[in-house]
Amino acid sequence: MPKVKINDIEVDVPAGTNMIEAAATAGVEIPHYCYHPNLSIAGNCRMCLVDIVGGRAPEIACNMVAREGLAIRTDTPNVKKMRQSVMEFLLVNHPLDCPICDQSGECRLQDYYMDHGDYDSRGVEEKVSKQKRQDIGDKIVLDAERCVQCSRCVRFGDEVTGTGDLRLMNRSDHTEIGMFPGERLTHHYQGNLADICPVGALTNKDFRFQRRVWYLRETASVCNGCATGCNVQVCHQEGEVFRYLPRRNDAVNKSWMCDHGRDLVPGIAGLERVLRSRVDGCSVDTEAALGALTTRLKSAKSVGVVLGSQATNEANWALLQLVRKNLPGARLYAATGNDPGSVEYADTLLVDADKNPNNAGLALLASLDGRVGSTAELGSALGSLDLLVVLEDDVIGRLKGHGRPAALAYFGVSKNATSAAADVLIPVCHTVEMDGSYVNRQGRVQRIRRAVNAAGDAVPAWLVLERLGGKLGHAPGTGMVAAAFNAMAKAVPAMKGMDFKALGDAGLQLATDVPEVAAPDVPASPGATA
C-alpha cells in the first residue's frame, strides 16, 4: 500500500490507484472531464494537471499511479493558472446554450468555470459552429458544438458495449464527435452516453426539457426491471419520478444501466395501478378488505399461497410467516420466470432474461421450506383450490387455460388478469414507493428506498401482510421494515449476521451461493404461445 501526499495530507491507497482517486480519499477534489473510473485513461482534457513536489513539470493526475513517497500539490498558483487556461481553451468555441441545455445544473463546464475559470473572455473571433441537434439514436440527441472532445463516449462504445459507434473526427478546433454516415446507435445502453458526457453534447431524449435537474431530489434505490438489480438513483420532484440514473456499484453494474430500466420510469405514473381495495366488486378500504380476507381464510378448506418474485424479501417473509403460524394446511407455491408473451431480451453485460427483480430472494426463502411447489404444480392444482392468495404475481395471466380457484385474493401493484379475477384485491406499493430489499442474480442483498408517496391506498406489501397476520391471531409485527428484515436475517442461514442498516448503498453478498433459480417453467397450454 503506497503512501502518497496530496497537499501535505498523507493517505494510504491500494497499489495501482491513480492520483484523482487518491486525492478523493484525502478529501481533495481534482477537476477532470475525460477521466471516468470505469473507462480507460485518455488524458486528453488536461484539467487534472497537478504539480509534483520536487518534479520538473506538471503532470496529469488521472494517468499518475500512486507510488511510495509521491507528493503532489493542487493548491499552487501554477495549478490554478493551468486550470484557468484549460477552461479558457475548452470554452473558446463553446456556445452559450445554457438556457436551453439540459445539462445545465449538472454541467462540469458550469461547475468548473465557477470554481476554477472565472476569467474575462478574450474571444474576438467568431466561434466555430457545428451541427446542433443531431438525432443519432433512439435515446440520444447530439449537439456537436457543446462537445469538449473528452472521448468518454468513444471509449464507452469501444470498451463497454463493444459497438465502437461514436468517433472523433477532423482536426484542431474543427474536431467533433459523430457517427459514420447513415449509422445510428443501436445498442441498449445509450442512456449511459448522456450520463457520462460531462457537458451537454449528448443528452437524453426521454428527459429532454422535462425538468431542470436542480429541482430533482435523488433517492438511492435498485432498478426493478430485471434480476440484475442495477443500482440507481431515482430522481423525483413532488411525488413524480422523472428519471433513473445509474449509481456506481462496481460489484453489480459499475456505472451503467440499460435503456430498458430507464424505460420503466414513464410507466411508474402511467401504470394501470390498483388504487383501491376491492371485495367482490365493491370498493372498500384496506382494513375492511383485510377483514373479509381473514374470514375467508378461516373458512376455506384448501388454501394455496403464491409467493412473488417481484415482491420484496420482507413481503415474502411476512407471507411465509403467516402461512407457518396461521395456515398450517395451506400449500405454498413460488411462481417464477417471466410471464408468457412478455418481452424476452437479454445480453451478457447487464440485461438478464429474468424480468423479476427478486427471483433469487424468492428462491432463497422458498428453499427454507421443503413444501414450496413450482409454477407447474400450481398450474395443475389451480382448479382444486378453495382460496388462492397471490402476492404481486400475475398468476392467472401466467397460467392461462389452467382452471380457476374458487376464490382469489390478490396483493397487486398494477391491473392485470389476476387483479381482474380477484375476489379480494388489495393495492400494494411500487418499488419506488417503499423501503425493502431485493436479492439480485449474484446473491447480493440490496436495499430499495422510498422515493415518492404511495399511489392511492397502496401500502407496502410486507406491512399489509403483517397486519393480516395480526388479524389472524399472531402478534403483529413492529411495523418497521428494518425489524422485519432483521427478523428474517436471523432465521435465514445465508443472511447470517446481516442488518438492514448495514446493507447501506452497496448491498451485501449472501453467505452462501444463491439456490438454483428455477428456469421459466410455465407449462405449455393452448393459450400461451412461444
Binding site: C98, P99, I100, S104, K132, R133, R208, F209, Q210, R212, W214, Y215
Partner: protein, 208 residues
Amino acid sequence: MALPAARKLSQPVSGAMSLGESIYLVEMIKGLALTMTHIIKNIFDQDRFRTVEYPDVRKSMTERYRGAHRLLLRPDGKVKCVACMCCPTICPAKCITIIAGEDPNDPAEKFPVEFDIDMLRCIFCGFCVEACPKDAIRMDTRIYEINAYTRQAMIHNKSYMVDLMDGLKPPAEEFYRANPDSSPAGFSVDQPSVPVGQPAVNQVGGGV
C-alpha cells in the same frame, strides 16, 4: 453613499405634554391652518393637485415602477423566452409556472408551452426580470390595476402577457372572456363578469 436622514414620522409618546399642547386650542388652530393652506393651494394652483380623480383620471407611474409582467417577442413573432426556468427558480413567491416544449423548426429548440404567473402570489420583487438571460420578461408596463373577480382570472398566462405594452389589451379577465381559447385552465366564461346588484367587495373568489 450616505442615505439622507429619514424624516421623523412621529414623536415617541413620552412624558408630559407642554403647556401649549395641553391647552389643545393652539394645536387645533395649527391643524386647521394646515388644512386651510391646502384648500387655498388647491384653489389657486390646480396643476399641482395631490390627488387624481380616479378612475376618470389615471395616475401615470414612473418608468422604473414594477407593474404587470409582459413577455417580449422576437422579430419573427415568437416569444423570446426559451423556458430556461431561471425565473421560477429565483421567484421567492413561487408564482411562475412554465411548461417547456421542443420546437423542431426553431434554432432556439426550446420554448414555453405554458407560461403562467399567479398575480395573487406575485410580490413584484422583479427578480424574474433580473434573472432572465434572454430579456424575455419585463415589468415595465406600469400597469398597476391587476384585479379580477375570480382567482383563475388572476393568473396571467402567455397569450395575455405577450405584448401587453401595445396598450390594447384589456384587464386579464376581460381578455380571457373575449378569448376563451387562450384563457388559463379552470377559467370559466359562464361566470358573470360583474355580478348584478352586489357590491364587488363581497365577491368570493372562484376557488381553487
